[in-house]
Subunit: 446 residues, 2 copies
């Protein structure tokens, strides 16, 4: 985010822990990894997203004078500690899976190795950035798989959870295979193709629906999509036929009509027939309104003649599963592997790597989770992306990440590409990692 | 938000419609209202929130040179229109319900009256701001009602949907009656009380759990909450007893312990017994982990000795109902009332007011939705807050809004304060509004 997010957008406990680390001189290298504990119910895979924003955040990490003065005023922190915060920068290393990589539970998609206070402080925002974009990209990928060949546009800014959620869901859904977004800022910031139609208010502000159509088309002669459900959908479609022919004579083309209410499949069939009989087979039908992967799949399975979908709220909020069971956990400190043993939340210790194997058909055949220094056949998914607080490469173009993500989805076993929950993809834990976990438990007497 | 959000954080269609309005010279006064179409399933009321951020947005509305240059580069807009955007400011009037007001479907909580292009352009961000804070405040109010007298702290920043969602959910939950948040920036920005404990990583970074407790307590001698579930909860509680007594001798007090996994009620009972038998009845028990209003209510109904709750993800994402069926609709243009008639989405036309009646017991007895110029008994809920683009008053302190919201909740009929869905609160539509709707339909021939 070019707009700096305050370093105080964090949990208070990060700062109280940092003071305790400061007081005890605990500044050796800590290794944290971000991973999902399990898949959301009904899902078959996750799609990694949000890395670029994490790297932006790490490169920009610093406390302003104003923030330090406010912290001092809380009376919770002593001066020597606050002075140390003033000098704090992120100087650590990061390994990560590329954005757009398919991944599964327990597989780290990000590893941070840095002096303990730095690696600890960044926890809250790293989770905040990775969980949300990953959540939306994973949901959007399902919509993409449900609608092969159809135009898919993110329409969800208004009911996304705030500004960043709206902007980031435009990015994440494009990364996952959407064709673009209605969110203008996503176009300016990342080159996401932007799409738009018209609102009911435009029709209502005119006394006559057909006059509204004509005015809009004359203002946008090359890219007009008309919203035809404000009053009665089929009446509007019939009225549109002579208008479209008249405007075509002046070089003004109507590209599409949008349906936004009622039985979308039934309206689409009737409108298609009206347009076809009216000699307008090239006007496409675009549908929106409470759509998600299930409704899109049902409409297409039912043969609805819909060429494109505006998918909003349910995708941008991942409405059926609005959060991910994920964590950023300490795996090593001062050269010793660590693990958490809380009930139901135990983790695999140490620095890890994920190897992905492929079958003869080019499809993924299974992953192996092992220690970072283990060497196994297959493709290692975690790669170095930051050293000593600096990116190793400029951010890849979002369109390139999108192509990579599509290749990742193509490589998935067919059964995992469906909307129904399939048997879990095989992720095995290699022997060196099991031995490490045992050694950690023996060392800590558990 | 002091951090400016780009005016391009909007849907493309706002800008394409604005060009069409510009081309046709349509700049008369438009009136839009924001309202919920229906309650989320299982909910009995909504709590209005987000108005201050809307007013900030309206006061700061403008296009930068960089934004205009980017728009020009898209090739979608002509120069005279873009020049008009450069001069665009919000010069309209706003009426609204105070933040913290309880409201119901079809009742507008915000009305904008401004030249059509201005009132149209702000649609996306107004919905984005009001729906999210209202959603979270309404959810948080249920948690507050489920846990009378208990400490409630927002813990959800990390799994909120991005930066603004995290920050705004701290604000909205405090407004709705939470005691505070772990989000430090919410403290700096609005004076939301901030709370924090420690993470498992703090324990794990030490070789010994008890040493970790002692180090933390010495760094924060007045406000220590210790997380005791990293390895074995009861073992940690027993080990804590002699440590707490020893530290007390030095003036260092342990305020509370936190449970974050397993059967929270059962652990709380065992830990309470250990602490009481150990002569530490003043150490409070704080619980967190996948909590929402239902789980909190169940724990308390079961007699769990828990003094406070950290409530995160499920509240901040309103996980069971992660969006609100709401809209910002054109109700009047150029002096004529308007309405949308789309299937299942018809609206009441014109400028409206809501009157709330109270019973002899001081509880709310029913609302009446009517035209803005109708005068009825009861309390009018919409009040002027902005004239000609300027706030009529400085933002009220958030703590004052929180007190008001609590009074609103107290005034609810008892049955609406429960977690189960009750019979709908009575909202009647007054005769003048029905007549207006009929007149609009007659005028538009529908």
């Amino acid at each position: 985010m070019p707009e700096r997010t305050s370093v105080l957008l964090t949990d208070l406990y990060q700062l109280t822990m940092l003071q305790a680390y400061f007081d005890r001189g605990m500044g050796e290298t800590a290794v944290f990894e971000f991973f999902a504990r399990k898949l959301p119910d009904g899902r078959n895979f996750l799609l990694a997203a949000g890395l670029e924003q994490v790297l932006d955040f790490l490169e920009g990490l610093r406390f302003t004078e104003e923030e330090l003065a406010w912290l001092a005023g809380t009376g919770r922190f002593h001066d020597r500690f606050l002075a140390s915060l003033g000098k704090l920068r992120f100087t650590g290393d990061v390994e990560a899976m590329a954005e757009g990589t398919v991944f599964f539970p327990d597989e780290p998609i990000l590893r941070v190795a840095a002096p303990l206070p730095q690696a600890q402080l960044v926890e809250t925002r790293i989770i905040n950035l990775l969980q949300f974009q990953t959540l939306v990209a994973s949901k959007a990928a399902r919509v993409r798989l449900a609608a092969p060949g159809r135009l898919l546009v993110d329409f969800g800014l208004r009911r996304a959870h705030g500004a960043e959620a709206g902007l980031m869901s435009a990015r994440a859904s494009y990364l996952a295979g959407f064709d673009g977004s209605s969110t203008v800022l996503a176009g300016m910031r990342w080159g996401v193709p932007i799409f738009g139609t018209m609102a009911h208010s435009f029709i209502q502000a005119h006394d006559d629906e057909l006059a509204a159509f004509e005015h809009f088309a004359r203002s946008h002669p090359q890219a007009t999509t008309l919203l035809i459900d404000t009053y009665d959908t089929e009446t509007a479609a019939r009225a549109l036929v002579p208008l479209a022919h008249r405007l075509a004579g002046e070089g003004i083309s109507i590209q599409a009509v949008r349906l936004d209410s009622g039985d979308l499949g039934e309206h689409a069939r009737r409108v298609r027939a009206i347009l076809d009989e009216g000699g307008l087979p090239d006007i496409r039908i675009f549908a929106s309104g409470n759509l998600d992967e299930y409704r899109v799949a049902a409409l297409l399975a039912d043969g609805a003649p819909i060429d494109g979908f505006g998918v909003g709220t349910r995708m941008n909020t991942s409405a059926d599963r609005p959060y991910l069971d994920c964590a950023y956990k300490l795996q090593e400190y001062a050269g010793l592997a660590r693990r958490k043993r809380s009930e139901g939340k135990a983790t695999w210790p140490g620095r890890k790597q994920v190897y992905r194997r492929y079958g003869d058909d080019g499809r993924t055949a299974g992953d192996v989770l092992t220690t970072a220094d283990d060497l196994l056949p297959g493709r290692p998914l975690l790669e170095p992306v930051m050293r000593a607080g600096r990116r190793l490469a400029a951010p890849p173009p979002l369109a390139a990440l999108r192509e990579y993500a599509q290749a990742e989805l193509v490589a998935l076993p067919e059964v995992l590409r469906g909307l129904d929950q399939a048997e879990a993809y095989p992720v095995t834990v290699a022997e060196p990692l099991r031995r490490l976990a045992d050694a950690v438990d023996r060392r800590t007497g558990r």
